[in-house]
């Protein structure tokens, strides 16, 4: 990076020489040839780094755990926050946990399980940050979704001011994100760096630890824990599936309602691609249409029995069909620990072909979103027929959040990122589906490949991007903070990244 030696020395003075590097080899690992990487260990160090960035007009960007992410490929200072890895507090009485950015969800959840508590975990898996902001997860029917879970937040602005949001702004308490104290939750995505955040935590009726047996990758649970049950139901139509989801939400009987397609179920319970595809073939024959997986977790036997019976009634009323293989206690157990600890997302997404491209939307799952992504599924099936993407069932998926008041809907294509034809097809599909989302007034899409630029999407949504741009300018007068793509301040840099998959044709091993 074009960082003067004098400036470099100043940054080094903040974090120590061990924790900053612009060596090309270090850059290779971040897939960004122009960046300087810095590893702050505290809020104060983050603040000092950001202030120096402002002093020298050096763009910067921060990363927590960086799942499937590479930094931008323009000159900047890249803050890798992995040294900020502490749980600051678990407050059982007020039901929140305060974490630094590099606490992963698996760590926080394990601590919470010991206390009969749980947290929301993003669908990308428990290797990702436990910060609340952003991220939808399988347990959303109970644990809601990322940006509904963030409470008080410690935030270093793009200018280097430490702002304490919510109750933290007026006290040392973390229990509320909106005050008494400043409430700026709506603009947190516009920049700055979150250094600590409180996240809501929830009741967990399951065991304090899953007593797993066996060795990786095939862990087993000898028996389904008491008062817990897993089922997968398929339905004759989308309408019936939606009806069942809504009834389950209304009755508040389910701990988790994950609208897995059969391919996601098979990915979770299998330990290799070959086993996965063979299992999916069997599943596909046994389902009657779209479906979901549901986890019932009772607090005591009578409670469990009540929930189980209500579920039985709902399924009867909606014509649901249970996937028999999931009734097997061994399969149930596996799905139970995989899908509450969210440890197999990588199996669901990357294992099959190496990459996936997703279109996702959060909000009102039913009617609009499901219908829109059903159209996307039809388009995807065409790609499957042409052999361009992994031949799974082609379905959209999603889940209810907050007992069905909100929802998340998504569809992805798994593909070989080194196959130019596949990549092109996936990109076109992504753009087409996104465009259809705004043209049909279905939703404002977010996609990982072929994302529509902010100045295409913005005018359809009250020019939000311009308003965000104004906010951005107010907080970042030097224009050096991250331009996230949610905001728009002259240029959209969201696409200026080197993909994790380079463009060289990669030949697989001929022999090992």
């Amino acid at each position: 990076m074009a960082l003067s030696r004098d400036a470099y020395k100043e940054f080094e003075g903040v974090v120590g020489m061990e924790n900053i590097s612009d060596d090309p080899v270090i850059q290779y690992a971040y897939r960004a040839p122009k960046i300087t990487i810095i590893l702050p260990s505290s809020t104060e160090e983050v603040q000092a780094v950001v202030r120096l960035c402002n002093k020298h007009k050096i763009p910067f960007k921060a990363q927590s755990t960086g799942w499937s992410f590479t930094p931008p490929n323009y000159d900047l200072l890249f803050l890798d926050l992995r040294r900020m890895n502490h749980i600051i507090e678990i407050n059982e009485k007020n039901m929140y946990a305060v974490v630094e950015p590099y606490v992963i969800s698996a760590e926080l959840q394990a601590e919470l399980f010991k206390r009969g508590l749980n947290c929301n975990i993003k669908g990308s898996g428990s290797t990702c940050t436990a910060l609340a902001l952003s991220g939808h997860g399988h347990m959303g029917i109970t644990t809601s979704t990322g940006d509904r879970n963030d409470l008080a937040t410690e935030w270093v602005t793009d200018e280097g001011e430490i702002v304490r949001l919510g109750t933290l702004g007026s006290s040392d308490e973390w229990f509320c994100g909106d005050g008494p104290g400043p409430s700026l939750r709506g603009i947190l995505r516009s920049g700055g760096i979150i250094t600590k955040q409180a996240t809501k935590i929830y009741h967990w009726p399951g065991p304090t630890r899953f007593a797993l047996e066996g060795a990786s990758p095939r862990y087993t649970l000898p028996k389904v824990p008491p008062n817990m049950m897993v089922r997968y139901f398929s339905f004759p139509s989308i309408e019936k599936l939606v009806e069942a989801e809504l009834k389950i939400g209304e009755s508040e009987i389910s701990y988790e309602l994950m609208g897995f397609c059969p391919s996601m179920v098979s990915s979770n319970i299998t330990t290799s691609n070959e086993e996965d595809f063979a299992t999916l073939d069997r599943f596909t024959k046994d389902v009657q249409g779209p479906g979901f997986m549901v986890i019932i977790a009772g607090n005591f036997p009578e409670d469990f029995e009540y929930r189980r019976k209500v579920l039985e009634q709902i399924i009867k009323e909606t014509g649901g069909k249970s996937l028999k293989v999931v009734e097997d206690p061994a399969v149930q157990s596996t799905l139970l620990f995989q899908c509450t600890r969210i440890s197999a997302s990588i199996r669901e997404t990357f294992r099959a072909g190496g990459a996936f491209a997703s279109i996702l939307v959060q909000g009102q799952r039913y009617d609009m979103h499901v219908r829109w992504l059903e159209e996307a599924a039809e388009m995807k099936r065409e790609m499957i027929r042409k052999g361009l993407v992994i031949a799974d069932d082609g379905q959209q998926f999603g889940w209810a959040e907050e007992q069905g008041h909100l929802g998340h809907t998504e569809i992805f294509c798994r593909y070989n990122p080194y196959d130019a034809e596949s990549l092109k097809a996936v990109k076109e599909w992504s753009e087409k589906v996104s465009q259809r989302g705004i043209d049909g007034c279905f939703a404002m899409p977010s996609s990982s490949v072929g994302m529509l630029p902010a100045d295409v999407v913005g005018p359809r949504v009250s020019n939000y991007h311009l308003w965000f741009g104004e906010i951005k300018k107010a907080f970042d007068p030097n224009g050096i903070g991250e331009n996230t793509g949610f905001s728009y301040a002259g240029k959209d840099t969201a696409g200026a990244h080197t993909p994790i998959y380079d463009r060289h044709s990669e030949e697989a091993s001929a022999k090992h």
């Binding site: 971040y30 897939r31 630890r209 993407v389 990122p417 090992h512």
Partner: protein, 422 residues
């Protein structure tokens, strides 16, 4: 075989960071959730399994440029394989093999570490990984009246290993092992001064040719002496004989057993009685090369099936650490009256490394000791009085870390505990 053969695997890395943590299902809290000592100590992504693959990918595409930082990354890795196992919980791809090949390429291209060169010179001159050894390899056995396999026929060769043979503080392990085998009435012998290094640690350091030379020397000696079964108390030796010799088609029908497997067998067959009470609360450390990396080599040759899936014809079986030697040492400890075993948070396929492998002990002792201290702290958290291991290199590193830190924890090799019980 070379790093080029792993392009496909390298390209599969999705930067999920699974390689940095133990398999997520095994995370028990905020403590002891990290898998890889290198990224835990140095923090830049480059020091993780995934980071190493991304560096390899860049260099495969743009050419290998050797810099001090690159070599720092390459040699500050214990080759413990934790990244490989965590990745393969979810993915079908090789991680440790390309990391091995990268290091081998460094050595082949002349980019070695001076401290490792010193060790390898010792290997070339004296057949040992313990430089400046003044005694002879078989001196430890003086007066024990052990059979010499080069002169007498035996059922079992006890391969002692470099550190146990030459390090005066570790020779107690050889003596304990011999005593145990004698007590069980095993017809065994040693090769004495004719024993030579297995080559395993040279391979970990990247000196593949030196490893192959040692492997050939050993197999020639075994053949000449009619050796069909080798028992060793060194985890690195066990891995070399069992896995690496097989990988390079040198093992033939040789039966290879670690001493923990053999003692377990002798106890279960009633040939060895562990009668004496040993009142001790212990925790057990799974050595990387006895645990997750000890699965038999899987010979496979095939091609990726063209298309969008990462699948092969014939299907590729992966070594995922599932079938390491986990039960025998635990069964042995369980069979000793008075021994109470309390497990650490990270065990078996997801055990934290002792720090002693991959040449780090020699090239960066501070990092080796740092890694050991992390493990000792984990051991202490169990309330155990002692940490028991099954590898002399690990025991030595633990002992030195204990000396530095002032920890009250004691460290034993498992044969020392067994010796107390007979």
């Amino acid at each position: 075989m070379g790093i080029e053969d792993y392009r496909g695997d390298i390209g599969m890395c999705c930067r999920c960071s699974a390689c940095k943590h133990i398999p997520l299902q095994r995370v028990k809290g905020i403590e002891h959730s990290y898998a890889c000592p290198s990224i835990a100590r140095y923090n830049f992504h480059a020091y993780s399994g995934g980071g190493r693959l991304l560096i390899a990918r860049e260099m495969l595409n743009s050419g290998f440029q050797y810099t001090d930082r690159l070599l720092d990354i390459v040699y500050n890795c214990q080759m413990c394989g934790a990244c490989d196992i965590s990745c393969k919980y979810a993915m079908d791809m090789e991680v440790l093999e390309p990391i091995y090949e990268f290091r081998i390429k460094c050595v082949e291209d002349g980019y070695t570490h001076p401290a490792l060169d010193k060790v390898i010179n010792s290997l070339r001159k004296q057949g040992t990984m313990v430089p400046a050894a003044k005694s002879k390899r078989g001196d430890w056995a003086a007066g024990l009246d052990l059979k010499d396999v080069t002169k007498e026929k035996v059922d079992v060769l006890y391969h002692v290993g470099c550190l146990t043979s030459y390090d005066k503080n570790m020779q107690k392990l050889a003596k304990a092992t011999a005593k145990i085998l004698q007590k069980a009435g095993v017809n065994f012998g040693i090769a004495g001064d004719a024993e030579t290094c297995c080559g395993g640690r040279a391979y970990q350091m990247g000196y593949k040719e030196d490893f192959l030379n040692q492997a050939k020397k050993n197999m020639d000696m075994f053949k000449e002496a009619g050796i069909k079964t080798v028992v060793t108390s060194c985890a690195d030796g066990y891995h070399a004989f069992k896995v690496l010799y097989d990988k390079y088609n040198l093992k033939g029908a040789l039966e290879v057993l670690h001493i923990t497997e053999y003692i377990d067998k002798l106890v279960k067959e009633g040939k060895l009685k562990l009668n004496k009470k040993v009142n001790m609360n212990v925790t057990y450390h799974d050595p990387c090369y006895l645990g997750r990396l000890s699965e038999p080599w899987i010979h496979w040759e095939g091609k990726r099936i063209p298309g969008y899936k990462f699948v092969f014809d014939p299907p590729k079986q992966y070594r995922r650490g599932t079938n390491g030697v986990y039960a025998p040492p635990r069964d042995v400890l369980a069979s000793i009256p008075g021994v109470k075993l309390t497990e650490m948070d990270r065990i078996k396929e997801y055990a934290w490394c002792s720090g002693a492998g991959g040449g780090v002990n020699e090239s960066n002792p501070e990092f080796a000791r740092w890694t050991a201290r992390q493990r000792l702290e984990e051991a202490e958290s169990t309330g155990a009085q002692a940490i028991v291991t099954a590898c002399p290199w690990g025991e030595k590193n633990f002992s030195e870390a204990i000396k530095e830190s002032g920890s009250k924890l004691r460290v034993y090799d498992i044969v020392e505990v067994v010796e107390k019980a007979i």
